[in-house]
Each structure stands twice: as C-alpha cells, then as structure tokens.
Amino acid sequence: MASDGAVIAKGEWHPANSSRAIPAVLRDDGILLVAAEEERVLASAVPERTEISPRVGSIPRRVSFPDGSVFETRDNDGIDTYLRDKRGARSGLIHRLEQFHPRLILMTLAVILLATTIYRFAVPVLVEVAVLVTPPFVPELIGSGTLASLDRAILKPSELPEGERQAISEGFSKLAVHSKGGQKAYQLYFRDGGVIGPNAFALPNGNLILTDDLVKLANGDREMVLGVLGHEIAHVEGEHSLRQLYRAAGVAALVMLIAGDVGSGVEDILTQGGALVALSYSRAAEAEADRRSVELMRAAGYDPAALSRFFAVLEDKLGDHEDASILSSHPGTPQRQQDIRNYAAELEGRPRAR
C-alpha cells in the first residue's frame, strides 16, 4: 500500500454496466473516495457523490461512483467504521437493531403485544369500515354461490305439502315487512336438508333456507318456525356472515402485511382457515339475533318468545344440552331460552315497537 490515504476495504471494482471485475481497494484520501488497483486510480469522487448501499446482514456492500462504476466488498465492518467516522453514529441504525442480541427478545415481546392489540381493537374497526364500503354485489355473489353449491351437494327439493309452505311463507312475509330492507330483501327457500337435519340458515344476500325436518320438528307449531326465521332475518340484517368473513380476511391480510413473507403454505392455511372461522357466528351475534327475533315476532303480532319454544323442543327431543360443537361459541340452550323470555317480558313493559 504505497499510497496516501487510509485503506477502507479490499474488494472488486466493476466498470460501468460491465461484469468485468478488477481486484481493488477503497481508499479515503482526505477529500476523495478512491477505488484503486495498486497504484492505478479506477474511480474517484467526493463522498457526497458516491452512494454506499445500506448494510443488511453480511451481504456484500456496493459503493457506486458517479461514472456508473461500482466498488463491491464483503468487508462490511471496514465500510461501517469509515461511515461512523464520517457520519457519526446515525448511520446503520436499522442494522444495529437487527443484530442478534438479547434485546431481540424485547422486540419479540413487543411484536406479540402489538399484534394482540391489533387483533383486539384494530380488526373490529377495519371490519366495520369494510362492511360500510362493500358494494351490494358482493353479498349477492356469496349468497347465490353458496345456495348453488349447497343445492348440488346436500340439499334436495322440499317434500312439504304445498299448503304448509304457503302458510309459512305468508307468516314470513309478515315478519320481513318489519325488518330493515322490508319484504323484498328476503327470499325463503324450502329444502329437504338431508344430513343437515332440522335447520334454518341465512345467506348474506337475504336468501333463507328452511329444512323440512325443522318444520316437522315443530309439529304444527308454526309460530316456533317463524321465531327461528326471525332469528335468521336478524343475521342478514346485522350482516353477521359478512362481518365474520371480513374478520377472517382481515386477520389473514394483516398477518401477510406485517410478516411480509409468510411462506406460501402458511398463506394458504390463513385463507382457508379464515373461511372456516367465518362460518361460526360469534356469541354476541347469536344473542343479538335472538333478541331481534323477539322484536320481529312481537311487531308481526305473534308470540314474541316463540323462539324459546324451539330451543326447548330441541332439548327435549334431542337429548342433553352439552355444548358439543368445537366450532361454535353459542351459549347453552337453557340460558338462551331464559334470555329470550326475559327480553319478551321486558318489551311488554314498553310500547309496541314499530
């Protein structure tokens, strides 16, 4: 090193746009940064006109000169030492944070804490925003798609007598009139549920499906059936399924955004698992739907607490009332019956709702 100026690092120099590599050193001779081969200067510039790539781990560093040539070195520490002398401790802050050090444990804890907070508070807000801006064709697509696939896979045409269906449809219309969106927002379908058994469910576009088994289970108690339908109307009104869907999608999207790269397998699990989660209503949504059923039934002039009879029948006919489903967060049926009757009684104390 028979040259003036301190050697910063050894490496290679590439001419502009060329893959030719010449072994070289990077020197600081007071005013200029110089890339030189032995005695021959290959490129030089004042430090302000050069660009030094930020440090990431221990990958090679590049010093780009204004003439387009590049000095490349694996001597990260040499470059860092030079930068610290020149620019003070502010350089390479992110890299210092990233170094393997006990403080990473603190960062990990901070990440876990923040992630939990986001899940608890930010996701619900985002879900509400998403529901607000959802164009109407989205629930329409989800609804018609689900009905079509259920029809293909599980459901069969209803075998109920025409008169029975007519009567239930009329009662249903009376309920729907009092709901948000009115009668035309809902369409009731009768189906033989096959393996599904006694059941009713609502799709986000206002399509309701009622299985023959549920009507048979009611054993002529038409109000009970209507109470269940009221409960389902509430799910549509509250856009519960859409909310669940968005919650799952939101969690998946947040994980992807925050973690950056999550690996394709994990990504798939998030999106698929999200769909499963989306199908189970939350406990709060169920309670809300129960209460709304009471209101709708009362407004239509039926027995407000008819829905509680349905749960009672379920209990009687179908054995004990352990919560067997891992997918649900439903309160047990005795409690639900009680809540429904309490709410009906409470409403009696009030003037008639709408």
Binding site: N17, S18, S19, R20, A21, V56, G57, I59, P60, R62, I94, L97, E98, F100, H101, L104, M107, T108, V111, I112, V133, P135, P136, F137, A153, I154, V195, I196, G197, P198, N199, A200, F201, L214, V228, H231, I258, A259, G260, D261, V262, G263, G265, V266, D268, I269, L276, L279, S280, Y281, L318, G319, D320, H321, E322, A324, S325, L327, S328, H330
Partner: protein, 364 residues
Amino acid sequence: MAMAETAPRAAEGQSFERASFTGSASEYFGIWIVNVLLTIVTLGIYSAWAKVRRMRYFYGNTVILDRAFEYHATGKQIFIGRLIVIAFLIVLNIGTAIFPPIGILTPIVILIALPWLIKRSLRFNARVTSYRNVRFDFVGTAGGAFVAIMLGSLVAFISFGILAPLASRWTWRYLFNNLRYGDRPFSSDPQLGRLYGVWVLPALIVFLGSIVFGFIAFVVIIGAAAVMRESAELTSTQMTVLSIAGLYAGLFIYFILYGVAGLFYRAGVRNVAWSAAELDGRHQLVSDISRLRYAWIAISNVIVTVLTLGLMRPWAAVRMARYVNEHTGIRINGDPGEILSSIEASGAAISAEYMDMEGFDFGF
C-alpha cells in the same frame, strides 16, 4: 447430479458450479423481527422498505461462482406502487357507491389488466436484480403472459390437472425465453414428455388420496347422519355451522391433497424446466431438487411456523432457500471468469431511473 442431461456438447472444459446460500437463521431473525416491529409501528408504511431489506438479504446471500446477486429496488419505488394500487381500490369503491354498475365491470377490468400487470411485475423484478454489476431484463409481452399464465392456468384447472404439464411448458417457456442477462438471452424448451414424467407421481397422490378420503368421508357422513337423527343437542345455527363445516372439511382435505401433490409437481417441473434452460445458448442451468425432500421441507416449515406463532418463520425461510440454492447450478462451457467478464449490460435495463409498478411476485 442433474437429472435431465442434454446431449453433451463438445466438452472443451466444462465447469459445473452449484449455487449456495450464505445467510443464517439467527441473522435473518433479527432482520425479520425488526421488519415486523417497524411495519406495525408505522401502520404498514415501512412494509415496502421491509421488503427491500428482506429481498436484499436473500439475494445478497445467494452465491454462485463466488459472486452474490443483488436486489436494487428502493423502498420508495415499492411504496409508490402500493399506493397506486390502494388509490385505485379506493376510487373503485367510491365509484361503485355512486354508480353501482361499475361494480359489475370491476372483475372484467381486472381480468383484462392482469396480463399487463403480470408482465410489468416480471419485468420489474428482473430489472432490479443484478449479478456481477449486470442487470437482468425481461422482454415478454402482455399477450404472452395471457397465454402462458392465464390461459395455462385455465387449461390446467378445467382439465383437473391432466393438462397441467402443457400449462407448465407454456409458463416456463414464457419466463425463460424472455429473460435476459445483460446482452445474453436465456432460453428453455422443456419437453412435454419429461414434464409428464414428473406429473405421474402428483397425479397418483391426488387420485389415490381422493379414493381413500372419499371412502372415509362416506363412512363419516353415514355415521354423522345416524348420530344427528338419534341425538343432536345442537341448535339450528350450530347445525348449520357443523354441516357447512363438514362441507368445508371436505374441501380442506382436497386442498391439502392438491397442495401436497402441487409441491411434488412444482419441484419436478422446476427440475425439468431449469435443466432444459440455457444461458446464451451454451451454458446449461441445472436443477436437481429431490421432490420428496422438497415436499418434506415445505410441509414441516408450515407446521413449525404455525406451532411457533410465526416466530420460526425466519428459520423456515432460510432452510428452504438453502436447500433450493444448493440444488441449483450452472454448467459453464469454457472459462467461467472469462465468459462472465465479457457480458455487458444492455438496453433499457441500464437506467435505474425508471418507475415501475411492483405487482405480484412470481418467484423467478
């Protein structure tokens, strides 16, 4: 060694070199956790810069012939690209609210724009990659992307995967034949016969798996139906959840089957396509991933990542990168130093000052 050997050319001193990965899980963990933390704290804004650091780490540790790759995209570039996408979505939403028919048009517009986006994204990713100070470039057209990727996926999907090798051939030809390294072209012409050769095993996985799971599902449904009729303490909504969950469980099993088969297929196709690829018509690329090992690494990565709530993701990513790199190589015809030194940057890829949209990432 390579599984797909083309007829050996005049072997005047061929040298075969494998790539390697020089990063470590502990080093990447630091980078990753700081990325996550800063992304959260900055409400997502930092994610663009985080991506740059992540890509630079993986490119900079991918070494072949003693030189590493380099990733040149800036956080600002990626951030602006993402802003454009978000702005587009917001405008779309407002537009739909004011004039609902726009909503019907949206999917159509996106479908039309997709090939163009794919092309731009491939070009962007190629141009921000360099090796020995020379950048890559991608010269494929949107029309090519439409045929190779969208039409290909459709054909593979409609034929239940039977025509997947055809789609793979289109895709990889599109990717390689339009890829440039400086002034030198890449080319690849994976033979359909070889592609069907690696398709047999995944096809068997799906076929036999479907039979086995179909039988199990049949038994379960019969059983469940009996149980439900006998004693179900389930409320109506619970029943809904259960029955639909059953439906989804079936879909999920199919998804797992196709996922596992897809891993085997992807690794096999990569071997065929890369081993059929050449740089400058003379230097052959080689890929000899063991399909079983690749599937095992991918599946165990997912399991470990999920069980550790994502904290082992850096380890998983490094593990996969190391395995894939070590089974990728190039056979240079002639003296590597000389040949590589003669390659010059060319054309549009020189200027680093262009703006491009960062769209979807296809692992090149």
